[in-house]
């Protein structure tokens, strides 16, 4: 406790001098590197979908990721969706496995703002991406705990959002809250990352919540059994494996 305060004060003193120089772009690239730090990861994902009437739907999936572009998500619950699996590969290549038909189908999608599997996260929100690549950042404000950035889509980047407002923790560069605004400047969605803890070398948010204020729908994602750097083989991220499961 005391040490944290001390570090905080020290940090403040040191950074005080370089405050103005604290480049928003640099903060954003640190955000990118914190989010995409692990070489690979595996976790159990619980998704809670809450509609405007408060009805909840719970889904569970096994989640694996290698680097920031290969990812597999296999549903384990509810029973009638068990075995449905998604495989995402670089260059927007995605495959879907439907166990009832024993079929793998490639999903070509040029619409990234399609919602992913009933959640409030779009394929785009979930895809491993770098904020720096798609947005230019300006520092709006800094508080004792946060840098508050405004992110404007770079020209050419196809985004539904007009701007983003991001709260970045100063101690670990973790983005804990992102507000998504539509092109008219109305607040549209809010993403919060909670229960941020350190697992091994990495910071990870064990809970994420995305609320769609227009649709009045929200999704909470909880991660359990998180493991990093297990040396997952590339073979895991293939159609064959998608089908085989386990």
């Amino acid at each position: 406790m005391n040490r944290i305060q001390l570090v905080g004060i020290l940090g403040l003193l040191i950074s005080g001098a370089v405050l103005q120089a604290q480049d928003a772009t640099a903060i954003l690239s640190r955000v990118d590197s914190v989010i995409n730090a692990p070489r690979d990861q595996k976790a159990t994902m619980t998704m809670i979908l809450v509609d405007k009437r408060g009805n909840e739907k719970v889904r569970q999936a096994e989640f694996m990721q290698k680097g920031n572009e290969k990812r597999i998500l296999r549903f384990t619950a509810p029973a009638d969706q068990k075995g449905i699996a998604f495989l995402s590969l670089p260059n927007d290549v995605q495959y879907l496995y439907m166990p009832a038909f024993h079929k793998v189908r490639r999903i070509a999608s040029h619409v990234k703002n399609t919602k992913f599997a009933g959640t409030d996260f779009t394929y785009e929100d979930l895809s491993a991406f770098s904020y720096s690549k798609d947005f230019t950042a300006t520092l709006l404000e800094q508080t004792a705990d946060f840098w508050i950035l405004e992110l404007i889509p770079r020209p050419g980047a196809q985004k539904d959002y007009g701007k983003l407002k991001m709260w970045v923790r100063r101690d670990n560069n973790y983005p804990v809250r992102v507000e998504f605004y539509d092109r008219a400047g109305n607040l549209w969605k809010v993403m919060e990352r909670r229960r941020i803890t350190r697992v091994g070398k990495y910071w990870v948010a064990r809970e994420m919540e995305m609320s769609d204020l227009k649709e009045q729908h929200r999704t909470i994602i909880r991660l359990t059994d998180i493991r990093f750097d297990m040396g997952l083989s590339d073979k895991v991220f293939t159609r064959r494996y998608l089908k085989r499961g386990k």
């Binding site: 509609d51 405007k52 009437r53 009805n55 739907k57 549903f75 009638d80 969706q81 449905i84 495959y95 879907l96 439907m98 166990p99 009832a100 038909f101 024993h102 079929k103 793998v104 189908r105 490639r106 999903i107 070509a108 999608s109 040029h110 619409v111 399609t114 919602k115 992913f116 599997a117 009933g118 959640t119 196809q158 539509d182 092109r183 008219a184 109305n186 227009k214 649709e215 009045q216 159609r239 064959r240 089908k243 085989r244």
Partner: protein
């Protein structure tokens, strides 16, 4: 009445202060009067049909859709698509909007080589400018049932942007904003606004506009009439103040009780002003008459009140009864109108009898100039003289003609039709009707038929029943575009498995469901836990009779031809003759519906078709062409290289494996599972030995793949037996061929749903499935409205006639006399309906009220006439003279009163709503009819019967009113005399 009159004069200050206070109080209430433009809020909320309808509207967001139609020469041009894109984006930014769907962002899932593509029909941010690309998109969009007639008109000229509002959003505000933005961003395009939120904007405008425009007109008319009659400012101001005060009270009371103003009750002020003035006029006229004879002010007032109090009271009460008889109508607006107008009439009555005398007592007596005005209406008196002469001479002719008219009227009555569709109430040049017409012409209408489905909506048996219902719905006239979650599942199945059917397993459905679960359209089709959903279709007619017919046909189908209790059995059950016959029936029925929908009623050899269907079921061995085999070979190769659970790295082994499989297929059947396991083990190399489970899994995948290939081929082959039975046109129709294939696909399924009764009879068992269909939607509400319209009409007639007859019987102290006296009103009511029948004016929620009002107001004339007649009979020498005298005094007054009330009602032809217009001129006509009944028919009847039904007239009147013998006019005679 004299005592009342004394009290009124003694308490005159209290009365005036109280009136002022109440008027201030109600004026304050009036500021809180709210307009309700939601037509649906007008329905009886306790009716189960309305409860269901409201629940469905809310649960499936049906009442929250605002539609903007945009018309261009061609929707598919860069400019137009850009405008649509701008509108789509702008709408989605309006606070209170949940989602927007348009051609530039509607989701499009299509099957592509090796997979499926999820995209937008047109990428809004990236609209192609290449004309060829645009033509391609146009062709594609218009070829798909998902878009054609749903989001783009079949001719590609009109497109619809659907905005879904958030549930708690203020519908009118959002709809107004949408209209404003649309007009701003799409100038030069013809725009249409449809859907409940849009209609609310227009109805709100109509309600307020009618009030603002009609009330001043009717006030002006009243002022003119009052001035013409009295030629004095008090003659104008006092009756005018009376109606204004009573209108403020009635409307203020309405606001205080939180009753909202809606499309029928908004004519309340006009009607109150038109009819409520009569009481003040009578009071004032009598006062002025008295003042010409006696000079003292207070005595004149007291006498006037004492003399006209009772008749005014009687007239007011009967009129109120006429309005109260609408209470309990199905439309709340009509009930509110009846009750509050009735109360308003009561207020006018009270104000006339208290405030007018109180005010008069403070004013100086009127000057002599009134004499001049009394000598004016000589022309009318002369007309009455001539009339009485005619009646006396031609009494029989008149009664006989009346009998003929009654006959003709009765003959016409069956032609009277009813109209309850609220859409029909709007004139054709209103936005609502224009949009409605456009929707009817290009998008299959906008009246949604909704059928609630209850059961496990992820169960194939339930979904298949929904599909079957949709096929049936399509065959009904005016019904099109049925839509449900079953279609989305079929669509997904087409993309994944290449046939537009419901998968035969619950897992299969669940897998496809998973993919579409997040689509916003799902909220409009199925509830959160998939235990209830709706089948929607569009109805393209506004004619009540057609709507009723359609609702009844659907109802019959649901009751007689849908099994609610099903059993899921294995496909081997087809072997049972009864179950097979059931399968054939099912396929045949759906094929016939497809044919009927596409080609209308055509002659078909159903016996041959039935045989053809059965032959497909018997196909156990199929033949593959070399081309088929080539394609299957390629499919198998990809399978082993990419998808198979087992990884066989040697190319030669994969090739050999594929070759063996093709050889096996050539025998016409899918090789058995055991053989496949052996085959894979043989060619699978080391892996196959190390991982037997992988071999098993691969064999299972392979079996599925081969089965599917075989099933496709089987149906293809079966098609050749069935297809020749159809016309060349149908054979050439690709959509029909697809539909036929999908119908026959039933034979391929591993699990089938059959009625529980059939399962029991055939001795097979399986998983029980329950499904229930309940019809809802606006058409069912129209049916209820239609039923209740007649009920309301009969109720209102019975109440009004009953009470009024009672009053007449009491007044005349004779049952027969009362019934005779009521005959002019009965004739009037009959004539009203006959007029409607012959002029093709429908009975609707406004015209339904005419009879009640006619009785309530028209009965006054009969009361006045008979009462005067009785009085005159006792003083005149002959029946003829009695009649002459009655017509010259009361008859003249009746005519003037009827004309002025009719004039008030005629104002309503300037109202925006068609039923109100019809109500206005028909009620006006009816007023003239009832006046005619009282001064023509009733006298004639009296002449013909020698007035026998009036009882022993001279004696009764002598004992009742001795002072009339001395030539003093009766109160009735005098009010009527001054009734101008």
């Amino acid at each position: 009445m004299k005592i009342v009159a004394q009290y009124v004069l003694r308490l005159r200050t209290v009365i005036l202060v109280l009136t002022l206070g109440m008027t201030l109080f109600f004026s304050f209430q009036l500021t809180r009067l709210r307009v309700n433009s939601d037509i649906l809020a007008n329905l009886n909320p306790d009716d189960p049909a309305v409860v269901l309808f409201n629940r469905i509207g809310e649960a499936y967001a049906g009442t929250e859709l605002a539609l903007v139609g945009l018309e261009a020469d061609d929707v598919f041009t860069v400019q137009t698509l850009r405008v649509i894109q701008q509108l789509t984006e702008a709408f989605s930014r309006i606070p209170g909007v949940a989602s927007v769907t348009s051609v530039t962002d509607v989701l499009d899932i299509r099957s592509v080589e090796g997979g499926l593509e999820v995209g937008r029909l047109i990428e809004g941010h990236n609209i192609p400018s290449d004309p060829e690309a645009l033509r391609r998109i146009r062709r594609y969009a218009l070829s798909r049932e998902m878009y054609r007639g749903r989001i783009v008109s079949p001719d590609g000229r009109i497109t619809i942007i659907v905005t879904r509002l958030q549930q708690q959003a203020d519908k009118q505000t959002v709809a107004t904003e949408i209209q404003r933005i649309a007009r701003g961003l799409a100038p030069g395009y013809r725009l249409y606004f449809s859907g409940l939120p849009m209609q609310m904007v227009e109805i709100n405008r109509i309600i307020i506009q009618d009030m603002i425009q009609l009330v001043p007109v009717v006030i002006l008319l009243l002022v003119g009439m009052l001035y013409f009659s009295f030629r004095s400012w008090r003659g104008v101001l006092l009756p005018l103040a009376t109606v204004l005060i009573s209108t403020v009270w009635a409307m203020g009371l309405m606001a205080g009780l939180q009753v909202e103003l809606s499309i029928i009750s908004n004519i309340m002020p006009v009607i109150l002003i038109a009819i409520g003035s009569a009481y003040g006029i009578h009071m004032l006229a009598r006062y002025q008459e008295n003042m010409q004879r006696r000079s003292e002010g207070d005595i004149g007032i007291r006498n006037a009140l004492a003399e006209v109090g009772v008749p005014i009271l009687l007239a007011g009460v009967t009129t109120s009864i006429g309005f109260f008889s609408f209470a309990g109508s199905y439309l709340r607006s009509v009930t509110h109108f009846g009750v509050f107008t009735g109360i308003g009439v009561g207020f006018a009555l009270v104000v006339s009898l208290t405030v007018i005398p109180a005010v008069l007592s403070f004013l100086p007596p009127p000057r002599r100039e009134q004499r001049r005005s009394r000598s004016r209406p000589d022309a009318l008196v002369r007309l009455m003289d001539r009339l009485s002469g005619w009646v006396v001479r031609r009494g029989k002719t008149i009664v006989l003609s009346a009998a003929v008219v009654v006959g003709l009227a009765l003959l016409g009555l069956p032609r009277l039709h009813r109209e309850v569709n609220i859409m029909e109430y709007f004139p054709e040049d209103t936005g609502i009707r224009i949009a409605e017409k456009m929707m009817e012409t290009h998008f299959g209408g906008s009246t949604p038929i909704q059928i609630v489905v209850q059961g496990d909506l992820k169960h194939p048996a339930v979904l298949k029943e929904m599909r079957r219902l949709e096929r049936f719905l399509k065959t009904l006239p005016y019904v099109s575009q049925p839509q449900s979650v079953a279609d989305l599942i079929c669509e997904m199945n087409r993309v994944v498995n290449h046939h537009y059917t419901i998968p035969d397993s619950r897992d299969g459905v669940a897998n496809l469901w998973f993919f579409i679960e997040s689509e916003s359209v799902m909220e409009q089709l199925v509830n959160a836990d998939a235990t209830e959903g709706i089948v929607q279709a569009k109805l393209a007619t506004m004619a009540t009779q057609e709507i009723v017919k359609t609702v009844n046909r659907i109802q019959r189908f649901l009751q007689e031809r849908v099994d609610t209790s099903l059993v899921m059995v294995e496909a081997s059950a087809w072997g049972h003759p009864w179950i097979r016959a059931y399968g054939i029936d099912r396929i045949l029925e759906q094929i016939l519906w497809e044919v009927q929908w596409r080609a209308g009623a055509v002659r078909l050899d159903t016996v041959a078709l039935r045989r053809g269907i059965e032959q497909v079921a018997e196909l156990r061995s199929v033949t593959f062409s070399p081309r088929d085999l080539d394609a299957i070979g390629r499919q198998l190769t990809v399978f082993f290289y990419e998808d198979a659970e087992i990884e066989i790295s040697r190319e030669d082994r994969v090739q050999a494996l594929v070759e063996r499989l093709l050889q096996a297929l050539k025998r016409g059947r899918v090789p058995p599972a055991g053989w496949l396991v052996q085959l894979i083990r043989r060619y699978g190399g080391d892996v196959a030995h190390r991982q037997p489970r992988v071999v098993q899994e691969t064999a299972r995948s392979l079996e599925r793949l081969l089965e599917e290939v075989w099933k496709q081929r089987r149906i293809q082959q079966g098609m050749s037996r069935v297809l020749p039975l159809f016309s060349a046109k149908l054979r050439a129709d690709e959509d029909f061929r697809d539909a036929l294939r999908d119908c026959l696909w039933l034979w391929n399924e591993d699990w089938i749903a059959i009625p529980a009764s059939l399962a029991e009879k055939s001795g097979v068992t399986g998983e029980p499935v329950r499904v229930r269909f309940i019809q809802s939607g606006l058409p069912t509400i129209f049916v209820r409205l239609d039923e209740s319209l007649l009920k309301s009409q009969i109720q209102s007639l019975a109440i009004a006639f009953g009470l009024v007859a009672l009053i007449l019987i009491l007044q005349l102290k004779s049952l027969m006399g009362g019934l005779m006296a009521i005959s002019p009103i009965a004739l009037t009511v009959l004539l009203n309906f006959a007029l409607m029948a012959y002029l093709n004016v429908p009975l609707d929620n406004a015209t339904m009220m005419i009879a009640g009002i006619a009785i309530g107001i028209g009965i006054d004339y009969a009361i006045h006439f008979t009462s005067r007649f009785k009085q005159e009979y006792s003083v005149q020498a002959s029946l003829k003279q009695t009649l002459e005298r009655t017509l010259a005094t009361t008859g003249r007054a009746i005519l003037i009163n009827a004309l002025s009330v009719a004039l008030g009602f005629v104002i309503l032809v300037f109202a925006r709503l068609i039923p109100i217009q019809r109500f206005g001129w028909l009620t006006a006509t009816t007023m003239l009819f009832s006046a005619g009944g009282a001064i023509l028919f009733l006298p004639a009847l009296l002449m013909v019967t020698r007035a026998r039904f009036m009882g022993n007239l001279s004696r009764s009147s002598q004992t009742a009113h001795p002072r009339e013998k001395a030539g003093i006019q009766s109160p009735y005679a005098q009010i009527k005399g001054g009734k101008s």
